[in-house]
Symmetry: C2
Subunit: 446 residues, 2 copies
Amino acid sequence: MNEIEMRFQLLIEAKNWKALKAELNQLDPHDIAETISELSKDNRVILFRLLPREQAKETFQHLSHDEQEGVIEGLAENSNKITSLLNDLDPDDRTAFFEELPGKVSQRLMQLLSNKERAIATRLLGYPEDSIGRLMTPEYVAIKPHFTVAQALDHIRKFGHNSETLNVIYVVDNQWKLIDDIKIKEVLLASPEQLISDIVDNRFIALNAYDDQEVAIKVFQDHDRVALPVTDSNGVLIGIVTIDDVMDIVEEENTEDFQKFGSIQEMVVNPLKAGIFYLYKKRIAWLFALVFMNVFSGAAIAHFEGVIQSAVALVFFLPLLIGSGGNAGSQSATLMIRSLATGDVEMQDWFRLLGKELLVSLLLGLTMAVGVSLIAAVRMPDVMLIVALTMVLTVMAGSMLGMLLPFLFTKFKMDPAAASAPLITSVSDITGVMIYFSIATWYFGL
Amino acid sequence: MNEIEMRFQLLIEAKNWKALKAELNQLDPHDIAETISELSKDNRVILFRLLPREQAKETFQHLSHDEQEGVIEGLAENSNKITSLLNDLDPDDRTAFFEELPGKVSQRLMQLLSNKERAIATRLLGYPEDSIGRLMTPEYVAIKPHFTVAQALDHIRKFGHNSETLNVIYVVDNQWKLIDDIKIKEVLLASPEQLISDIVDNRFIALNAYDDQEVAIKVFQDHDRVALPVTDSNGVLIGIVTIDDVMDIVEEENTEDFQKFGSIQEMVVNPLKAGIFYLYKKRIAWLFALVFMNVFSGAAIAHFEGVIQSAVALVFFLPLLIGSGGNAGSQSATLMIRSLATGDVEMQDWFRLLGKELLVSLLLGLTMAVGVSLIAAVRMPDVMLIVALTMVLTVMAGSMLGMLLPFLFTKFKMDPAAASAPLITSVSDITGVMIYFSIATWYFGL
């Protein structure tokens, strides 16, 4: 507990609400949220009650979903505060909160919204999960092309209060069809009597509310924007997406990719806060699935019992050979998954890449075979050739697998990051075992 | 090659510069950059020459570093174009270009800059690699607290042309000490006669130019800003960082973490474009290092030759057991690395997490032991107990390793993401072999 948290704790115990309010006024909403997270659930609610509306709304959106739920539950008796909080929340932040609530709870809370806000919330929640519609807010400023710059600035001053951002202004025609988005910079630098129609260049990039949020990330990264418009199929402006929400998604998506590759699914959690059974549940399914993959390597080995008994020396090199195949495979999978995710590589490039990977992995395999032959030559020269040949083939097979799996997953509309390192290791273990003992059987003429 | 690229190709062949210029005018700089990337090096330079200054500058910053170098080389004979391009570039984009050039080339190009731009470039390149200083631009608008809002807007109109952004305006005192950053929204919504000093709340978050870029990412994510000020140790404003540059870094850092975990270091490349020997070079070092790790498992197995010969059945379960340990380890490493990276977990939490992981991995190990016993019971009941006991212990050992390595790496100031999946797999292989055959030796009373 740091200094601020301690001071807050003491002030709450002393019931010194006045001093607490004064302290809260000094803090940024993000810092209030961080402090609140460290307090007990009851004290969290007490602090929250003391916050003025604007700060309450800002702080709320910085809390984790569990903390948000806790605050709402805690405030229950004081339903006015909840009502104003829920109505004050920015529509996009409200969507994020509502979408993770159990249906019953969100239905009940929805009743507290004004007719206008409820209509907005219902519309936004109507878009599919992980779609751009769920990130969208209808709170923006739109102007008409016949405005002068001075008129536009007046319009902004009058109607901009609720806008999520004023960094970008939208120009629409009488049917609310989007004509252009203009950076506020262009408005500010133009002379006051200039017409907006002289500033617009009709070059804008609009998002589709039904597209996946990954699309939004890519467009934001490529085009250096801080906000993007969302239009319907007729080009009518229906909302905007701001970069702060996209930053949150970037972090989540990357974390998800990373965790899938390490085969921990849907685990954007803080392990300090997660319960033991939750962590157990998230991990056991994958581990178990991989056991059954590994059973096949066992069965393959059992099949070759004869050759093992005649040369136990073969077993010494087993972990090394199958390990190298798996490592080469996880390297090429890493490259593939990231390249597919960043858009560097498209599905149609597959054959070109395959040829390249064949050559690269041949070189890798040959180098490793030389290395391992030197080791084998000293300790057990009779299996040296078998080991060297297996090395070349398993490294190549592993690399091909690492390339193939992410592509197949994409082809079948699955996330390529699910072609995790352990999965690739397990499959290339089986391949490695088969290659190794087949060569040995043939070599010993069994 | 898509439609636009084809049309460009044809227009270049027909030397129809006028039509080309008209086409280029229709496109967004990002799209021009994408089209240019697909053309031959010579055609790339031709197109670039046709671009007007502003578009040339914008397009240049969307090119990859190699393409940028190619364009500069290609323009060499036409040195006026280079001079204007380099002087026009935003200081932060210029830093990004210069920092990856060989020293000699950047020295030569530096001579083409005006005195003022050279001074800026030298100062920014003076900051350490990967520091916030390298992301910074000195092009912002600063106003004084005694300005009225109307005066501020006039000031912006007069001096804002070169500013990287007008989404945030900076308020400084006479010593250029930062007093506040204010969102343009607040200026736009205030009435024209209001004083700036009435708008400022003296609550701002400033970055330090010497801090790592990861710090900037974290602050941007936490605080929902589109630009942040950078101050020196006296609180004097020396530059700003905008979110578009941070978005690029986020992507890179995540890619780096991901690739380190898959043990391909420093590889933010497009595999379609990278050469075969480059790809080989980047991968062989790690693969080779891991071979030497795996040699230890081989040695460990050799040590237990006796027990293997007396029960070859043990070998059947070897891949399964060591695989499970490695998988559990790569799961816990994934969690650790990401939690350390996102700041969810701090070094001092280590002992609390260790206790938790011990419990979770015990549960995982027990579940897996039950599963594997069922398999062993059918096929070879005489090794069932050995296999079950080994499963519990290897899963626990692997999990501990997966937690320990990222922490140790952090402790010794190395990147925790370097505790890659293959490294963890290799180390837990050795541990697994030792545990397995030790138990077997003891069980058979050898």
